[in-house]
């Protein structure tokens, strides 16, 4: 990351995956850049313009794109990233479902799909296929053709009710 010596850095405090952290960021850092700078590289940069949802994370319970938000704006927030989904070393049921359905091919968009799915299933634990299609409308995948991710979300919804 290019650093500009003239720019004053600022300190932000936020919760990341359950742990409170203090990060020093620059005013122009996006939240995604701050994640990468702090060794959380599971969240991917794909389009960088908010069009693909590949950089999806969950801030204060809402799924958002970390590429078009300043890190400074996340000050005081509660952030969940793909790294935070592991439970006692085990994959989250959503991750498990994506693996079982073959819903990841190159895998680059997958963290975004999974975080969007996480936020969606929190609110809609019993979705129809139509609900799932609408919920994933912004997540772009160039490999799978979407059929398998949709099946994975439905499978995850079932698994999470067990």
């Amino acid at each position: 990351m290019e650093r500009n010596g003239d720019m004053p850095e600022l300190d932000i405090t936020l919760k990341v995956n359950g742990r409170t952290v203090k990060w020093r960021v620059q005013p122009g850092d996006t939240l995604l850049e701050a994640l990468h700078a702090h060794h959380l590289k599971g969240t991917k940069l794909i389009c960088g313009t908010g069009d693909c949802c590949g950089c999806g994370v969950i801030l204060n319970g809402n799924s958002i794109n970390s590429c078009c938000m300043l890190a400074a704006q996340a000050d005081g927030g509660d952030l969940l990233t793909i790294e935070g989904l592991l439970q006692e070393g085990k994959l989250h049921p959503i991750q498990e479902a994506f693996a079982q359905e073959g819903a990841a091919q190159c895998g680059y968009c997958t963290p975004g799909f999974i975080m969007r799915t996480y936020a969606f299933l929190q609110e809609h634990p019993h979705p129809t296929e139509e609900d799932v299609r609408a919920a994933l409308a912004g997540n772009i995948c160039r490999c799978t053709g979407y059929v398998k991710p949709i099946a994975a979300v439905l499978r995850a919804a079932e698994a999470m009710q067990l």
Binding site: P27, G50, D51, L70, A72, A119
Partner: protein
């Protein structure tokens, strides 16, 4: 990393207005336009965040529905009162703006501030006779939204921030229609149309018709509105209106659609919105998926 020299996070409107008074500063809300479209960063060195100003509200008071500048597209789309207003044309516009992730960040006021001719919500807002409340060091002023836009990314907003949008409730005891033609679920409009009609005994007594993405600003089609008055709310009337709309629009060709396509579709979008307002076609409930 964006070239931003300083980030300000004021907690009062006075503080925010004072910060904005200086050149080279701009307001940031959801950030989904500002941070990804270089057009909005020209000459900007510092940003002033509106998140701590307490503007994340939607409430009714004294005949107005107040929508604070912090209200996200999602919260607007899901708000019961917004959904109830003129068949929910504003909630529907907000519900088809971008993707779920964008709607969790982008604000309604930001959609207005960006002044994009193809934005999804200004046609509904103008059809509902919305006002925009601006705050600067000189104080506060209220501008009717139909005289707010000047050109692409240009408005009458000076070194000011938007405090809220307000909708008059008494005037909006009307029926509405909204129709968006887009390439994909998340893309901005190729053409959109919003309308509000008052119909008494089958005759139109009040009409507003606004088209998006067919002119340098969201276009209120006044000749069409005038032609609707005293006419029966029927398919025949609406087909005549489509002709007027096609003649009034001033579309451009871009990566989304050609000018010719936009012109043809402007008539289609207008008729479909009008049919909804007249009860000749069901109005959608896009907010269900917002």
């Amino acid at each position: 990393m964006l070239k931003i020299a300083a980030y300000h996070s004021p907690t009062t409107l006075d503080e925010a207005a004072a910060l904005l008074a200086e050149e080279g500063r701009t307001i940031i809300a959801g950030g989904t336009d500002l941070l990804v479209n270089p057009r909005y960063m020209v000459g900007v060195r510092e940003v002033v965040d509106n998140r701590r100003l307490g503007l994340n509200y939607i409430f009714e008071e004294e005949g107005w529905l107040h929508i604070g500048a912090g209200a996200t597209m999602r919260s607007v789309a899901r708000h019961r009162q917004v959904q109830a207003l003129a068949n929910g044309i504003l909630a529907r516009g907000a519900a088809v703006c971008g993707s779920p992730n964008i709607r969790n960040m982008a604000t309604l006021a930001g959609n207005v501030a960006s002044a994009s001719p193809s934005a999804d919500t200004p046609p509904s807002l103008i059809a509902l006779n919305a006002q925009v409340v601006l705050v600067g060091v000189q104080g506060e002023r209220s501008v009717p939204l139909d005289s707010f836009f000047v050109g692409p990314a240009k408005s009458v907003r000076e070194r000011e921030l938007i405090r809220e949008l307000r909708l008059p409730l008494a005037e909006n005891d009307v029926r509405g229609g909204f129709y968006k033609i887009g390439r994909t679920a998340e893309d901005i409009s190729m053409v959109n149309a919003a309308t509000t009609l008052s119909i008494q005994e089958g005759v139109i007594i009040k009409a507003r018709l606004v088209l998006g993405a067919v002119a340098p600003i969201p276009l209120r089609v006044v000749p069409a509105e005038e032609a609707l008055l005293s006419q029966p709310a029927t398919e025949e009337t609406f087909q005549r209106i489509a002709e007027i709309v096609r003649n009034e629009v001033r579309p451009i060709s871009d990566q989304r659609a050609s000018a010719d396509y936009r012109r043809r579709m402007s008539g289609v979008a207008a008729v479909r919105a009008l049919r909804q307002a007249a009860g000749l076609a069901p109005h959608g409930e896009e907010w269900r998926h917002a």
